[in-house]
């Protein structure tokens, strides 16, 4: 610790959030958003997930080392570390499961365009592609093969009706405003607009909330 660190600690205006803490905040926000949004959200940028995974791995190794010496004093520290580890694991697991559930429900939709594909992580893309291939092969061998070749596709868009199911982007969501901003929403009878204040909780359609969330002016709750 040098003099700068000491000064920083006593300076009330300096509020640097350490990286680990910011990662937890980002992961929590991503988890809540993924659990609430009707469609799959982009995979977090900036290597957030990889960093957290590495940290978890390192922490598990540390726990394994610490279980060796059973000193009652370190014992409690071990309990704390393991409790926190379990909390992190739950967050990560729940987040990934929420994403997989969405990918499973609308696999072809998320594989249909490059924009949508970019939302998936590498692993998820591999999973979705393989899962869809297996499914299609299974359908082919069980019943599709007896159909005329023109009817064997699963992604027909003939007659203006797409076979690909897409998530309902107009589903209602709750958002919390993170700063004062104008909120616009489309309604059945009229389109609404309000001057939102910070920490307002607003119900509106996801398609209207999306630009605000993406700009960081609001978050899903």
């Amino acid at each position: 610790m040098d003099i700068d660190d000491i000064l920083r600690e006593v300076d009330p205006t300096f509020h640097s959030v350490p990286r680990e803490k910011r990662d937890l905040q980002d992961l929590t926000r991503a988890w809540v958003a993924e659990r609430s949004a009707p469609e799959l959200l982009p995979w977090p940028a900036g290597g957030l997930f990889e960093r957290i995974n590495d940290n978890i791995k390192r922490q598990i190794e540390k726990v394994e080392e610490m279980t060796g010496d059973m000193d009652p004093k370190t014992n409690f520290v071990l309990i704390v570390i393991q409790t926190e580890l379990e909390r992190f694991k739950f967050l990560v697991r729940s987040y990934l499961r929420a994403r997989i559930a969405k990918i499973d429900r609308h696999t072809l939709h998320y594989l249909s365009t490059d924009d949508l594909r970019a939302r998936l992580s590498e692993m998820e893309l591999a999973y979705a592609t393989r899962h869809q291939a297996l499914l299609h092969n299974h359908y082919l061998s069980s019943f599709l093969s007896s159909f005329p070749p023109a009817l064997q596709n699963l992604n027909d868009t003939a007659g203006n009706i797409s076979m690909i199911d897409a998530p309902d982007l107009d589903a209602a969501v709750f958002i919390r405003l993170l700063e004062d901003t104008v909120v616009q929403g489309r309604g059945v009878d009229a389109d609404g607009e309000m001057d939102g204040r910070e920490s307002d909780i607003v119900i509106l359609r996801w398609s209207d909330a999306k630009p605000l969330v993406e700009a960081g002016r609001a978050e899903l709750v």
Binding site: Q59, D168, A171, V173, G187, V188, A190, I203
Partner: protein, 253 residues
């Protein structure tokens, strides 16, 4: 296996989130700083106060290694004040959420400025705001008020400023008052034609409780009125945004 839960956080998940709130503890034993995944914990030296996440504070409390200082808003007088405000002053909307944290601005004495993280691109939000610490303002309910209060009363009842029973009965009143508001706000949903509804000051648990119902109603109204809405949009495009009240009556909702 993929997640079988419907969208939106359920009660257990909200409670999990609330355990990330920071609270103030008074340690009874020394404990060195622990290197956790979410960063270093402050070293605990009695009788110096320290801020820890709720889950860790509860763990220390259960092992009788620390006492938890209840947040000022959980004091009976603060709760009574909030109940008064919720019932008498504004019987329709929820009481206001806590103001964003701020502190004195050394460059301009006498003024305060927001606590803002310089390099974060977005503002902090609950559960990462210090709204349940000993320094939180009294008279405002934070987003996770019910979960935090419940956890503190259950596990740290002896640390309360008043007998836990008294605080509990005040909390129950508050829950009932606010539940009634939540119910009456659903009647506003009936005419959810405007596309927006604000529930400023609502709590996380209250939201989790009525999420399914509220979202179901909003989505239902949208689906029933989809054709009317499409017709209105078409009309507006043709008629240059002329408002028409007829569609309201046609809907019959």
């Amino acid at each position: 296996m993929a997640l079988p839960l419907p969208p939106g956080l359920n009660h257990a998940e909200v409670a999990f989130l609330a355990e990330m709130e920071m609270v103030t503890v008074v340690p009874r034993q020394r404990l060195e700083s622990i290197n956790l995944l979410s960063g270093q914990t402050p070293p605990l030296r009695p009788p110096h106060r320290a801020e820890l996440p709720l889950w860790l504070a509860l763990l220390l409390k259960k092992q009788r290694r620390a006492n938890i200082l209840p947040p000022p808003w959980l004091h009976p007088s603060s709760l009574a004040e909030i109940i008064h405000r919720e019932t008498k002053e504004d019987p329709v909307t929820f009481s206001a959420p806590p103001p964003p944290p701020s502190h004195a601005n050394p460059h301009d004495p006498g003024t305060a400025r927001r606590v803002r993280d310089a390099d974060a691109d977005a503002n902090l939000a609950p559960p990462f705001l210090p709204s349940c610490t000993a320094g939180a303002p009294a008279g405002y309910l934070p987003y996770h008020w019910l979960e935090v209060a419940e956890a503190l009363l259950t596990h740290a009842g002896d640390d309360m400023a008043a007998p836990a029973g008294d605080v509990r009965s005040l909390l129950r009143d508050l829950v009932e008052v606010r539940a009634a508001k939540m119910r009456s706000s659903t009647s506003a949903l009936e005419g959810f034609g405007g596309g927006l509804m604000s529930l400023r000051g609502v709590g996380a648990m209250e939201l989790a409780e009525s999420r399914g119902f509220v979202l179901g109603v909003v989505d239902g109204v949208r689906k029933i009125g989809a054709s009317a809405e499409a017709a209105r949009r078409e009309e507006e495009e043709l008629g240059g945004g002329r408002e028409d009240d007829e569609s309201d009556e046609d809907m019959g909702i």
